[in-house]
Point group: D2
Chain length 315, copies 4
């Protein structure tokens, strides 16, 4: 029995009790309310799925809970845009630097020269990325994104949660504001509502923690899906995504998470976190109660503890 196998056995043992130890952290956070539909989630849910290259899962807690990807989707639309246009074209439209500001801050947009969004994982940057996805229509672009996500998750049943999508579209005025700002600056092209439609749709794709773990596993193996043997993403684009996940994957709590857990990760306001151990494991977590930085409070607690115990930090 090799080390990785032993790790999975230990996880099977530890995860149930550790989930219960992290779950009470949720009481110190708050479920997101800015998208009305999200506010309905039960605040004390917590679930985790860990998947290795043999296809073996170790899971605990509320893994049957369905939630939307939200910002987690931004990692994969970035990758799709890179696959559609290449590195140079994409980074003429978004930068590579972390910001230290809130994910939805507009202040930064006014201060940099050239006025491109700091990076592809803040809202402004992710909206620009949505505008770069190839396709002749909103539907075609959204369909391409959905198919790509299904392939990564190895799950043909991934669909858009239309209630959440409509809720975002109806209330996403800050994103609309950013999009018009970017249009004014010539960074965004085309019809703003169409771009936002693509954006809101991919944020609203519904998953479970097992889907996150599978998508993460592909990143952990540099774009190769170890369960099918297919290279789904060129290695260089995984490298880029992984770097952004370290420097700005957890909003303006990224630095703290890098020091605490040291794992590439991306969180969403629905409470999901996708993270992985390079070359070993894909991990999906969900816990809707968020800390002040917008990350799942119990999820962060659980991952940091696991990272210390299993020495998962890249650093």
């Amino acid at each position: 029995m090799n080390n990785v196998m032993k790790e999975m056995d230990r996880l099977d043992n530890l995860l149930p009790q550790w989930v219960e130890k992290s779950r009470p952290e949720s009481a110190h956070g708050r479920v997101a309310t800015y998208i009305p539909e999200l506010s309905k989630a039960e605040w004390d849910l917590l679930g985790i799925s860990v998947l290795n290259a043999d296809g073996r899962y170790s899971e605990a807690g509320d893994t049957a809970f369905s939630f939307t990807l939200q910002s987690i989707s931004k990692v994969f639309t970035l990758i799709l845009a890179l696959m559609d246009h290449g590195e140079e074209a994409v980074f003429s439209k978004v930068g590579k630097e972390p910001t230290g500001d809130n994910f939805n801050s507009m202040m930064k947009l006014e201060l940099i020269q050239p006025a491109i969004p700091f990076n592809p994982l803040i809202n402004a940057g992710a909206i620009v990325i949505s505008s770069l996805i190839k396709g002749n229509s909103v539907e075609q672009k959204s369909e391409r994104i959905l198919q790509f996500f299904r392939e990564l998750a190895g799950n043909d049943r991934l669909v858009i949660d239309h209630k959440v999508y409509r809720s975002e579209r109806e209330t996403g005025h800050l994103n609309r504001s950013m999009a018009y700002f970017l249009l004014d600056k010539g960074i965004l092209e085309g019809n703003v509502e169409d771009v936002l439609d693509v954006y809101f749709r991919h944020c609203s794709i519904q998953v479970e923690t097992a889907d996150l773990a599978r998508m993460a596993l592909v990143l952990a193996y540099n774009g190769l899906d170890p369960l099918t043997g297919k290279q789904l993403i060129p290695r260089r684009f995984v490298q880029i995504a992984k770097t952004f996940m370290i420097t700005c994957g957890m909003y303006n709590g990224s630095g703290e998470f890098a020091i605490g857990a040291g794992m590439p990760a991306k969180s969403g306001v629905s409470g999901g976190i996708l993270t992985f151990v390079p070359g070993r494991l894909g991990i999906g977590v969900v816990g809707p109660s968020l800390n002040a930085k917008g990350n799942s409070i119990a999820g962060v607690h659980l991952i940091e503890r696991l990272s210390r115990e299993f020495d998962w930090s890249m650093f």
Copy 2:
């Protein structure tokens, strides 16, 4: 012959030569290009109309040039909103402070608590004001504004310049961005495109310098039109408008203009300036070439010189 009469005689004498002395200043400025339709104006135009309470005009230069009110309209929509809702309601939606920032800066919107626009003369504030004009439809609101402006200008032929209006609507994405930001914060209500439509229309009302002088004369007489004897605006609302014209009527060049000329004034990016000598004169100026702050460069030069010569400063 009283002093005011003598002043008009001296103006008749001086204005033609002073206009020619200020006109070359235009070479140091630039015609606005951000609304494409405005960029077509001839850069070295300069005209001035001065009107006293006897209805006597003193004029010089390009007074036959038609231009759109742009930001000058904001003074009068503010007054109309005050007449529609009263002081308290209006100032729950916009503040009373100058900003020091560009007229179209969004940065400030993020920094104040509560997040209301600093004042009704910056774009964000003026858009909020547009949303407060009473009326059941865009058309009705715009019609009310137009009628009010016609009455103030004593000119039934004032109309919207539809080319400019369409140009603003098509390219006004920064205003759109601000409007959605304000909608997100709950400061703006209703349909954003409708509010912007009202806003773009009143910015696009076409005038000549004589119209500005007549509108200014009503302010100079505290809301009374001395030529008809009608009180068109309650005095308190003129007082409020006059104060804003001193503290923030000339964008972020307001402080400098207050020290240089000391007269309540409002400028627009079309090159117009409306100003007045309280209790004496209404003045309209136009010169499309703008200085770095967005004010008519030759117009400011001319008014500051006249103010020094005739001791028109309020200070």
Copy 3:
């Protein structure tokens, strides 16, 4: 009996009761604590002195309370610097625009090009002004300022409150921070501690409301002391000071005060307010409890009420 005389009689009648009506406002504010020595003032003091050109005083409340000028001094050091160097030299070092920010904000310093302080009444600007006062030493400069203030107040007994001065010098690290920032940018020259020493000293000059009223009267009469017949300040420099008092004399509550009272004014964190009715009256007020903008809360209440009653607004 002329109108002004009648005004003084009415003031004699009204002031005592109006002071008592405004005094309870102090409960909604807070005495400044950032200079430890200031925090010792009794929070519910309120006093007012009004002085006319005949030398007649109308007073009420705690007029025997001694307090330090603090920011009020900035109006007069600006005037002295103008008298020392002229308009052009002074305004190459400080700007003319209101800011909308806190008086001690440093943020603005980083954003403008050229990086000069926005105006001479914010701390950064006033420190630059202190560096411009002529004199061979800190002592000589401070002595010149004190003599100038004594002459304006017609009071040879004006002195520096050394306890407050030492308190400011020991705790004025934010001002020190600004001064070094300005030194780095080449706006401030010379020894920083010396410049700050001049600054802290003039902020610490002790006055009573009657002194403020007398200093204000000189401004009300365009630089002429009507009680001695001496022209103490060239009229142009009073005009400049008056303009700044309207646009930024009351910190970032200046716009609101201009609309509420419409009088040139300058406040200090000790609770003093110097204001005047041009051509008529000099006014000094003190009330140590401050509103959120840093102005005497009861003092503002009292002045706004008087302005409405007596129609003192310039607007």
Copy 4:
């Protein structure tokens, strides 16, 4: 011959020509001038030292050039402060987040709550770290730092370059400004000039690229000096330092460098870069001509190329 040996042989072969290929990049950058003494460096110098755990060096270019550590020292004073006080105490005084702003920006200081510097590698944070070094006097603290650096570099002859130190102390007004700001906010304690003295001294320690390579090697081996077998730094503190080097080691070009090279690194305005390949190599580079972000322009070019060729990225 193992892989690492082969790598060293390949480096011996490639480095001389690659240094010459990167050297011309210096023409597109500028030598730092803000510390007058630094501006004297020759702009087209470029040198590199690579060291492995067997003590074998591979070097090319201007490795005999002596330069000061500048910001590179901040990594090691952070480590020393962590060894002096532990994680919790240190991170109550500085944050863990990258900023996206210039290294010497003060703007951020005003915007965060609590107002602690974003991270220990920006100037404000590094000044706070300097204040935490244990010792009874400036001299004792500086001596402890110097001894620690000597041990890490395995070089007893490391000294402070007094010309640079004096130059920094005389012109470091922006750092002085920050220090007083931090003192005002209660983040910095003690005598500001003393703290700055400690800071300026450790920035002025003189090294050559071989010293950087040796110091880097200790980090590459998680705190163990592989040449002596001594554990000089606890592994956890190396982990923290390494994380900061990835997220903010290259000023606001850190994100770009992480994507381009993917190696933990710290640069200084003298043109030095310390970087390493975890578990394998310590690397020191110097090239005084800086890019717009303040990093050695030829140095970055050289390291990115080497990283691609040898697949050194952590990502």
